[in-house]
Each structure stands twice: as C-alpha cells, then as structure tokens.
C-alpha cells in the first residue's frame, strides 16, 4: 500500500483517519421480507445497480484508502449473478471479505465457488429458533430450513460462521435457544442484535418493541450464556437502543472508521444516513473513494466534534460515543445535531421511554 495515498486533513479540519470497514450493499433485492430490514423504504432498483467493473474498482480504491474488511451485503448479495467475481476482486484487492447473507437463494455450489474465490467469513441471519415463527418473521415459507442447510455447508467448507440473530418482542424470549442453535450449527460467533429503529424497523416499531421485562431477562440470560459457553462461542450483544442509558458510538464516529456504499453507488457514512435531509452524498460513479471520504459534504457534515451542541460539546464522553447516532437524533427530535435522545443526558430522553411504551401487536409491514 502506498502511504502517500492515505488521506490528509485540510488545515482547520478535524483529523482524518482511514476507514477500516466498508459495507458494500451489492443489491437491495432480497427474497425475504423481514419487517426490521435496515434497507431504506425506497429501495434501489436492479437497473440502477453498479456493474461488476465499478465494484472491482471500488474494492481496489477502498484497499488503497486503508479499508481492511469489506462486508458483502444487501439485500441478499446472492441475488447478484456476479457475486463470485466480486468476492474474488475483493480478495485480490487484499480485503478481508465477509459475506452477509440470508442463506436463501445461495446454493451450496455458489458457496463453494465463493470459498474458492477467497471468501474469509460468512454471516447468516436466523429469524428465530422456532421454524414456524422464523418463517413468519422472514415472510418466506421454508426460509428456516434453507438457512440451517446453508449454515451447515459453511462449516463443512471450513469457513468461520457467525449467526446474526435480530431480536425483538416476538423472539427475545428465546435468546438462549438461539445461542444453542448457533452452537449446534458450529458457529464461532453469534450476534444478539436487538432491532434498531431505522428504515423498515421504524415503520414496524410498535410491533417489534420488546417489553422492559423481556429486555432485562434477555440481558441476564446473555450473561449466563457467556459464562457457560466461554471459549466455545463468542456472544456479542449490546443493550437495545431505547432501553440504554448511553447512546451507541454509532459507526465508530461519523466519517472515522467506516463507510457504506448503496447498490446504486452513493457513498454514505452509515446505511441510514439518507434519512437526514440536506446532506449531499457523492457517488463512486463520479468520484474516487478517497475524494469522497475526504471531501464529500455528507462525510464532512458531522466529522469531528465542532458540530456538537450541549450537552455533547462539553461532555467527557464526547470522544467515546460521539453524541450517539445522527440519524436517530434526527428521526426522534427532527434535529440531526441534537444529542441522540437515547442518552440520559439528552433533554429529549423522556421521548425514548414514551416511544418504547408504545407496543401494539399489529401485522408486520413486510419489506417488499
């Protein structure tokens, strides 16, 4: 890698770091309809997707910029016919390639080809430990069985497997069963990923929100599971947003550690950033990744801490959680520069408890 290509900050700007991780949303197409999908409500269409050679260039530019890991995601990345070529390109660029898949629409044959192409890791989502409930949540009959088969195939090929378990009111009582399932499948890691309320999840918030009792019980169970299974499986879990005291350090700070590329090529500081009005996103069709990282207005908007207001501006945790999530601040308060209301120091913190109390067993609005 050429050190001279590393980004340099302009005078007066906050220090410019190299991104470490890149989420490559190869497509928004997906056979599943999960009601908490993190994709935007307005999905990119197939004809707007970047072509193979553009992605290949983006992977090379990402590596030169300092990116170490690329997450091949979607939608369902296997909806792309060129997934093997794209994986090979990421590997050739020197990136650690992680496939984030639903496990549906990915055949054992394609998986073997991906492994051959240099894939380093696979993450498979599982909607519930109960097959009928899992298929209901995914909005796809037979999804659970396909996922189990694909996960077994990942392990058979010797690829490290992470199970991604998105938790919400309908399945959070089975957190222990989910961990047992991940162990049975041979996963080395499970993400207990509580729903985060953006995109489709925000639309379905009242149907997904767990009760405080459920959240407390799940936290206790996770602690016990960690002790019981230490050395057998890594359990990653954080307190769900609306029940937390401090906000999450969203994407490790805006424009500091990671970037996200939409199927159509827009480069975002995080996958939800397009909800914030007035931000100007640049596309890899028009600019190099290094220029976008350094210069694009969207990345500059909340980089560093000069945009902060009180209580963030003078807070001791300013460099720990960066004021939380800009998208959540906007979605809940209407002001993207406000303190993330998840923080108990936010003047709007009461709002979060009020919203968490709104729970209604309405049918899901599936992502379609």
């Amino acid at each position: 890698m050429n050190v001279l290509e590393r980004p340099q900050a302009k005078a007066g700007d906050p220090p410019l770091t190299s991104p470490l991780g890149m989420l490559a949303e190869l497509t928004h197409r997906c056979p599943l309809g999960c009601p908490y999908c993190s994709n935007p409500l307005a999905l990119d269409s197939r004809q707007d997707e970047l072509d193979t050679v553009t992605w290949e260039r983006v992977f090379r530019e990402a590596s030169a910029l300092g990116v170490l890991q690329v997450h091949l995601s979607g939608g369902e990345p296997a909806s792309r016919r060129d997934l093997v070529d794209l994986t090979a390109a990421a590997h050739a660029a020197g990136l650690y390639a992680n496939l984030i898949t639903s496990g549906v629409g990915l055949t054992a044959k394609t998986l073997a080809a991906l492994s051959e192409a240099g894939l380093d890791h696979v993450q498979v989502s599982i909607q519930d430990s109960e097959p009928a409930s899992a298929d209901h949540i995914a909005g796809y009959r037979g999804a659970y069985a396909r996922k189990r088969n694909l996960a077994a195939e990942v392990v058979r090929l010797g690829l490290p497997l992470t199970i991604n378990a998105v938790m919400h009111r309908a399945n959070i009582d089975r957190v222990s069963a989910m961990v047992e399932l991940a162990l049975a499948l041979g996963a080395s890691r499970i993400e207990i990923a509580h729903v985060q309320y953006y995109g489709w999840a925000l639309k379905n918030r009242a149907a997904l929100m767990p009760t405080p009792e459920q959240v407390a019980r799940a936290a206790r169970e996770v602690e016990e599971l960690r002790q019981r299974h230490q050395g057998r499986i890594v359990i990653d879990a954080v307190v769900p947003d609306y029940y937390a005291r401090y906000p999450k350090p969203c994407v490790g700070g805006w424009g500091r550690r990671s970037l996200n590329i939409t199927p159509a090529g827009r480069v975002l500081p995080c996958h939800a950033a397009e909800v914030i009005p007035g931000l100007e996103f640049w596309s890899v069709r028009d600019h190099t990744l290094a220029d976008i990282w350094r210069e694009s207005p969207a990345f500059r908007a909340f980089r560093g801490s000069s945009w902060m207001r009180e209580p963030c501006a003078s807070c001791a945790r300013r460099e720990l959680d960066f004021g939380g999530c800009r998208c959540q601040a906007f979605l809940l308060t209407g002001d993207a520069r406000a303190t993330d209301p998840v923080c108990h120091l936010s003047p709007d913190h009461e709002l979060v408890a009020d919203l968490a109390a709104v729970r209604e067993d309405a049918p899901y609005a599936y992502r379609r």
Binding site: G21, D120, G231
Partner: protein, 66 residues
C-alpha cells in the same frame, strides 16, 4: 492483524513472537521453550504467563483452536 467479522485485533510485538510459533504442531511447552531460548533476558515464568494469557484470550474470542 487478526481478523474476525466486524473486528480487527492488532497484535503487538510480543503477540507476534508468540503467534509466529503457533504452527499447529508445536506444543505449548515447545512454544515456551523456544521463546525462552530466543529471549534469554525474559524470565521464563513471565513468558509462561504471557503465552497462557494470549492463547486463552484468543481461544475465548474463537480465534484459535486449542
């Protein structure tokens, strides 16, 4: 660098020396002996503690099969 999904662990100089010796065939005792020979200034029990701590930590992160 050690990679797992969504994480990167940067090995320090000591960890690198230990990991270089984890061939998949060398036993725990061989690794400690070899380090003791390569770094005569380091007390052997310190080496033992360091190797144990690193390997246990990596095992718990599922980065290493013991």
């Amino acid at each position: 660098m050690l990679f797992v999904s969504e994480r990167v662990f940067k090995a320090d100089a000591i960890a690198v020396e230990i990991l270089k010796r984890c061939t998949g065939e060398a036993t725990f005792a061989t690794i400690v002996d070899d380090l003791a020979a390569a770094f005569p200034a380091a007390p052997r029990d310190r080496i033992l503690t360091d190797v144990t701590a690193l390997l246990r930590g990596l095992r718990d992160k599922r980065l290493l099969e013991l």
